[in-house]
Amino acid sequence: MTLDALPVGHVARVVKVRGEGAHRRHLLELGMVVGAPIRRTGSAPLGEPLTFELRGAVLALRRTEASQVDVTEDPT
């Protein structure tokens, strides 16, 4: 699945950051590498951006950005 589909409160692990360019590099350098756990915390009142917790930090990603990240959901 892709990150934008992760329900609020659920935890997943990063499989791959697709896309290319500076934005992909930025996400990788924030620690979004293979195996890193990531949790969906919510979204902004107007529906976007979506918020995720990665390595202790809460990051705001737009839907198109989040859809570039492949994840597998952790069994709960």
Partner: protein
């Protein structure tokens, strides 16, 4: 003096640490030749003396794509006079792995490092205290634990830095070089890149840097570096199904995750304070409501709370001018030829200094607000909330606070664009900010609406004057948004990478940091922009003063006297208007008349427009002068309204058409030397302010022309 560089991710408390170490003496500025802001300060190291502490822009990476990254790597790599003697890498104890990712890159550059781990208290409170000794064994540099906000651990930090500065052996021990090995699978690509890099730049770390720096088609390595050749190597690797960029980042994180297992993937537990607070502050209803209240408070503060202080500055300088003027009058009465000098000192010099300091209340207040919002963590939420809306204008959520401030005054608003993380966004915001309806336009609109618009039009159901007022605000706002879209697409330089917004934890703002921030911003303005504004005020004073007429009453011909007496105007005021007419400014008004005639203006309005370059509201007083009503007429002055209306009617023009055209002109034209002065300082160029002056003047002329001619057709 030795130099210490302060490097770290954004929001790791660098400013707080700088404040705690150096007090209020820090100076804000830009890094040479860039729009990236910097702070430097003198740090008194016990048992060593003063060193210069440089705050390097917060960054996650030292690749060379974004301006901040370029500035950071240039600062750390610099040799000779600009070299840093020690690099203090500030780390966040609650995000230790990510902070350490930056430390790995600094280590590769071969400078002595002190690792300062901040927010130890928060990590403790989260139940994940950092074992500093174990951490030091991993990163092989001196490690100091600090809580910058409370001043904890600063002595130990000073001692560690001093030891490196004074003891070459300690410096060598603090310079570990590359900390991690590269995986075998990546080595062929690193070697291939090294093969095209110049001599002296062929280590695997250099290759890794080049790979990360060339992350997309617009990225460049820098002058004298073979960017195109490296790009070819990378294309070949990608064509073969490899991903060198991803592998470089993954290799570093894998090394860190293996050595800092407790911190790997460490998540702030659900239900932490910040998350609970966000449930309210980002709530679809309450969140937007609270946001509206916070922003209204900020705007009310800028718009009206600053008024008493502004009034105080104006009254103070007015009184000073009167007092000094009276002194000169005494000297003139004794026959000393100091009349001109007196005018210069009172109107040029004292008035000029006053016109600089009059901005201070709003600047101090805005930066006080911004510092509180930023330090508390709410500024990030404000950007998050507004992102969706501002994206329509091609701007990020962070542009909201500067744009809102622009409705009070563009000068502090342009300074507030420093909070935008991306240089490109900052530039676009600065270019369109002068279009927002600042409070200086309000007296102009008030005069024009009252003088030239009827209270109602037959057959038109809505009240005309309030509608004109609301209409011009809406018009200017829509124009600013459109300008942001157009300029962002065609004018702003190559898009540097977007920065992911981080919702930093809520924290209680530190009074020291907040006051320091506001104070530095105020001083920065006075020091940087003050001189230019002062000179501009004096030049405008000169234009509307020379050539001088020693005895204005000689200009009063019998015809003029008869006409003035019939209108009941004072002869002094009429004489003053005749003096103004023959000054260079008055002549320029007549000179530009052919250019402004198609907009519906006469030379008098031209003089008013010229005068308004000092500040837009000066239009009102200048018009008072031109019409011979006196220079103390304000926008409520009935004689001024009548005179303005009459002059339009006498020219057989429709007052509404002229009024709308003038309002459109004031909405769009760049008549504010203070804004231009601040733009010069904040963009570090004359090109961009010249561009703003150019595009806004053209826009204003064309729009006013269309408005006037269109309204003439409609209204007949």
């Amino acid at each position: 003096m030795k130099r210490v560089l302060l490097v770290g991710n954004p929001n790791t408390g660098k400013s707080t640490l700088l404040n705690a170490l150096t007090g209020a003496g820090a100076r804000v500025g830009n890094f040479a030749g860039t729009t990236v802001s910097s702070m430097r300060a003198r740090w008194n190291l016990p048992n060593h003396g003063d060193v210069e502490l440089v705050d390097v822009p917060g960054t996650y990476s030292l690749a060379a794509h974004s301006p901040e990254e370029r500035v950071a790597i240039r600062a750390i790599r610099a040799t000779g006079e600009d070299a840093g003697d020690v690099v203090v890498v500030l780390l966040d104890a609650t995000r230790l792995v990510r902070s350490s990712y930056l430390l790995l890159q600094v280590a590769e550059l071969g400078r002595p490092i002190v690792a300062a781990v901040n927010f130890l208290d928060e990590a403790r409170a989260q139940g994940r205290p950092v074992d500093l000794e174990a951490y030091a064994a991993v990163v092989r540099v001196p490690v100091v634990g600090i809580v910058a906000r409370q001043g904890e651990g600063l002595d130990a930090l000073a001692a560690a830095v001093r030891q490196i500065l004074d003891d070459p052996e300690a410096a060598a021990a603090a310079t570990p070089g590359p900390l991690h090995p590269w995986p075998d699978a990546l080595k062929p690509d690193l070697d291939a890149v090294a093969a095209v890099l110049p001599e002296g730049m062929q280590t695997p770390a250099d290759s890794a840097w080049a790979i990360l720096s060339l992350d997309d088609a617009e990225a460049q390595l820098g002058p004298d570096l073979p960017g195109a050749e490296v790009r070819d190597v990378l294309e070949a690797a990608r064509a073969a199904g490899r991903d060198p960029l991803g592998d470089v980042v993954a290799a570093r994180y894998a090394w860190l995750d293996a050595r800092l297992p407790a911190a790997f993937g460490a998540r702030a537990q659900e239900g932490q304070f910040s998350e609970r607070l966000d449930a309210w502050l980002l709530h679809p209803v309450w969140g937007l409501l609270i946001f509206a209240v916070v922003m209204c408070t900020l705007f009310a503060g800028l718009f009206s709370w600053s008024d008493p202080a502004i009034g105080l500055v104006e009254a103070g300088f007015g009184a000073l001018g009167t007092w000094v003027g009276a002194g000169f009058d005494v000297l003139v009465a004794r026959g000393l030829p100091v009349g001109l000098l007196g005018d210069f000192v009172v109107d040029g010099l004292i008035g000029g200094v006053g016109s600089v300091l009059v901005f201070l209340p709003q600047i101090l207040l805005l930066f006080l607000f911004i510092a509180v919002l930023e330090d508390s963590g709410y500024l990030a939420r404000a950007a998050h909330l507004m992102d969706r809306i501002l994206r329509a204008a091609g701007l990020p959520g962070q542009a909201f606070v500067p744009m809102l401030s622009g409705f009070a005054c563009a000068v502090p608003a342009i300074m507030a664009t420093r909070t935008l993380p991306r240089a490109r966004d900052r530039l676009v915001t600065m270019l369109v900010l002068p279009l927002t309806t600042c409070s200086a336009r309000l007296p102009v609109y008030t005069l024009l609406v009252a003088a030239l618009f009827p209270a109602s039009i037959e057959g038109f159901p809505l009240p005309v004057r309030p509608l004109a007022m609301a209409g011009i605000y809406a018009f200017a706002t829509i124009t600013a948004v459109l300008a942001a879209i157009v300029l962002g697409r065609f004018v702003a330089p190559a898009h540097d990478p977007e920065v992911v917004l981080e919702l930093v934890p809520y924290r209680i703002p530190s009074v020291r940091v907040v006051l320091g921030h506001a104070w530095r911003s105020g001083m920065h303005f006075v020091r940087e922009a003050g001189g230019v504004i002062l000179v501009a005020t004096i030049v405008l004073w000169g234009l509307l003063t020379f050539p001088r007429v020693d005895d204005p009453s000689t200009l009063l011909t019998p015809d003029v006297v008869v006409a003035a007496e019939a209108d009941g105007r004072s002869l002094d005021a009429v004489a003053a208007s005749l003096v103004l007419e023959q000054t260079y400014g008055g002549r320029m008004g007549k000179l530009i008349e052919p250019a402004i005639e198609p907009l519906g203006y006469d030379w008098r309005m031209g003089v008013g427009i010229l005068g308004s370059f000092a500040a837009r509201e000066v239009f009102v007083a200048t018009m008072g002068l031109v019409y011979g009503i006196g220079d103390d007429a304000d926008e409520e002055s009935e004689p001024l309204r009548v005179a303005l209306r009459q002059s339009v009617v006498l020219r057989d023009e429709n007052p509404v058409a002229v009024g709308m055209s003038l309002m459109v002109f004031f909405a769009l034209a760049m008549q504010c030397t203070s804004t231009l002065a601040v733009l010069v300082k904040e963009t570090r160029s004359y090109r961009w302010p010249a561009f703003v002056l150019g595009y806004m003047t053209v826009l204003a002329w064309v729009a006013s022309f269309l408005t006037f001619q269109g309204m003439r057709l409609i209204l007949g």
